[in-house]
């Protein structure tokens, strides 16, 4: 059993930082390259969403929390940004509130297909928490 939390400023440089942190956290399990990349991609999607949508043109802190229980990874990425008014709509593949910024609306679809489980909790003006699970 292991657990960790990191918080970092919502700047795009920290997308790579978050991927590196989660990779290091699960490294002792020696996951396959495929599994490792799936986890890194899911984290990258959630962190990018917090930065570009959650905090939009403002800055705030993004928190990543992870628990390893045997080979089961549970992780969450949260922000205290603008929140999501309609979660159901947000999860629809190819829906994006920012298509003009060259977003294709597939972030949640990627998280869903690369992880075993995905849960989104959000409240407008309060923030968003994305929880994911994966057996490594």
């Amino acid at each position: 059993m292991n657990e960790m939390t990191v918080s970092f400023l919502s700047v795009s440089e920290n997308e790579a930082f978050a991927r590196t942190v989660i990779a290091a956290f699960i490294a002792p399990l020696d996951p396959t390259v495929t599994l490792l990349n799936e986890v890194k991609t899911a984290v990258s999607e959630a962190v990018t969403n917090a930065i570009v949508h959650g905090y939009e043109n403002t800055q705030g802190m993004v928190t990543m929390h992870a628990i390893l229980d045997g080979r089961k990874l549970t992780l969450s990425v949260s922000d205290v940004g603008c929140g999501i008014a309609d979660i159901e709509q947000a999860m629809v593949p190819t829906y994006s509130s920012k298509p003009h910024e060259e977003r294709s609306g597939i972030g949640f679809t990627v998280m869903q297909s690369f992880m075993d489980k995905l849960d989104v909790v959000s409240q407008p003006q309060k923030g968003t928490c994305v929880m994911m699970e994966k057996q490594l």
Binding site: E15, V33, N37, K40, T41, E102, R103, S104
Partner: protein, 115 residues
């Protein structure tokens, strides 16, 4: 992320190296668009074979350039090699829009033949 740009006639081969995320895509977009306009490019070839990581922001960048090439009456294709990048191309559905090659040489030859 690093990028190497080679222009032959009106074919542009952009070789991307490193991790293609939102941070890299923002910088790359400006660079590519400048080169596309400067050389009045007809065929854009994006070589992803040296990209070790790509997420949906990379897909957004690719689809954005594809749309742009279409608007100017040009074409675009992708070179892919790594398993990770291949998977993102599949999940995103971009394969329906953009042709994916294995070999940059063949993509380049076809691009030049289309001049």
């Amino acid at each position: 992320m690093r990028v190497r740009v080679e222009v032959k006639k009106r074919v542009l081969l952009a070789t991307l190296m490193g991790e293609l995320d939102h941070h890299a895509a923002t910088q790359l977009r400006t660079r590519l668009d400048r080169e596309l306009a400067k050389h009045k490019i007809k065929t854009l070839i994006v070589d992803l074979s040296q990209v070790g990581f790509m997420d949906s922001s990379g897909i957004g960048l690719l689809i954005g350039r594809y749309r742009q090439m279409q608007l100017s009456g040009g074409r675009m294709c992708i070179i892919s090699a790594s398993r990770t990048v291949d998977k993102m191309l599949t999940v995103s559905g971009i394969r329906k829009l953009v042709k994916v090659y294995r070999d940059p040489k063949i993509a380049l030859e076809e691009g030049l033949a289309n001049e």
